[in-house]
Symmetry: C2
Subunit: 200 residues, 2 copies
């Protein structure tokens, strides 16, 4: 029984709680499986009342995905008080933990059928752009060049980490520390490799 | 006017020509834009006759995507007569040219709404697996370790190249040779970086 039921809340607070609950539920199911009925039941309110807070299922899904993306960005926000390489390590650790804890929805969102929805695809793209911007902003702290080639490499590196994370989580054949080390060392390795003098 | 119209063909040959035409048309439009009407018109046959060769639009789309995937695999098949690094370079060159020539359908297929379709997603996944298998089979020739970690790194590297290619083609801010050099040097760089001794 959810605590939502027992408390009278302002509309904003209720909407907020419904979103939180939606994001929580998304940890163990995909967006397709996140029905408005389940959420209403979990929240202890009627389906009708739910549509008082969200116009339709699409709006509810969009808001939940947006909230999940914000959580991911918050969780992976680099801590400027740490040394540059330590920032990167911590961010990567938090990222891998996030993917592990939210595997079904995360893998579904980045490579599943959610991408058929233009609005959701835009949220996913915006999230990637923000992550790329953060890495790019910190390149000089890592002693790496920040140019067009590096920006391409960063977008590629993010795709690399996404793919490896999504592939690794289900069976975890390789220790977590190995993956983290691969993530951290691959960024400078990729950028340096891409800037090597060209062969004639 | 297509030459298909003027020749009487066996059913198999006709089906083959329709598929070829579909793949050709896909070079400059996405799957969503590849209508059965356009194809029939281009082939100079009636819409009804088209459905003599393909049960429905879904089957036609699936067969066209499968054919396009086979073309990509054929075009990027390493030439065993070349030295290992030369094989890799040639493959990457052919890959980047393929993406450049088939940009709209390729980018749509790997990150667009096509992934909502389970059958198409499977074709795309199978194609990636086959590419990963080829790289993995040639690792020892490149003097690189072939283990679970390398296999993860290869899948990640393929996602890296996909992302960079799709990002690079529209504006080509960086010379093509730079991208090719980044692709080729990033594979050993990623695998070596991932196998570095771990920090305590």
């Amino acid at each position: 029984m959810s605590s939502i039921r027992r408390v009278r809340l302002s509309p904003d607070a209720r909407r907020e709680q419904l979103l939180k609950l939606g994001v929580q539920m998304l940890a163990t199911r995909t967006l397709d499986e996140l029905s408005v009925e389940d959420l209403a039941e979990e929240a202890g309110i009627s389906r009708g009342l739910l549509f008082h807070y969200f116009r339709n299922k699409q709006e509810f899904h969009r808001e939940v995905v947006l909230r999940a993306a914000q959580q991911l960005l918050k969780r992976t926000d680099p801590n400027p008080e740490l040394a540059p390489m330590e920032q990167l390590n911590r961010t990567l650790e938090n990222y891998l933990d996030y993917v592990t804890e939210n595997y079904s929805s995360y893998s579904y969102l980045i490579r599943g059928s959610a991408t058929a929805n233009v609005e959701l695809r835009q949220i996913i793209e915006d999230t990637r752009s923000e992550m790329a911007r953060r890495v790019s902003d910190n390149l000089h702290l890592l002693g790496l060049p920040d140019d067009d080639l590096s920006r391409l490499a960063i977008r590629g590196w993010l795709a690399f980490t996404e793919q490896v994370a999504v592939q690794w989580v289900p069976d975890q054949k390789v220790p977590r520390e190995r993956i983290l080390q691969m993530f951290a060392s691959s960024l400078p390795a990729l950028i340096l490799a891409s800037h090597e003098p060209q062969e004639p």
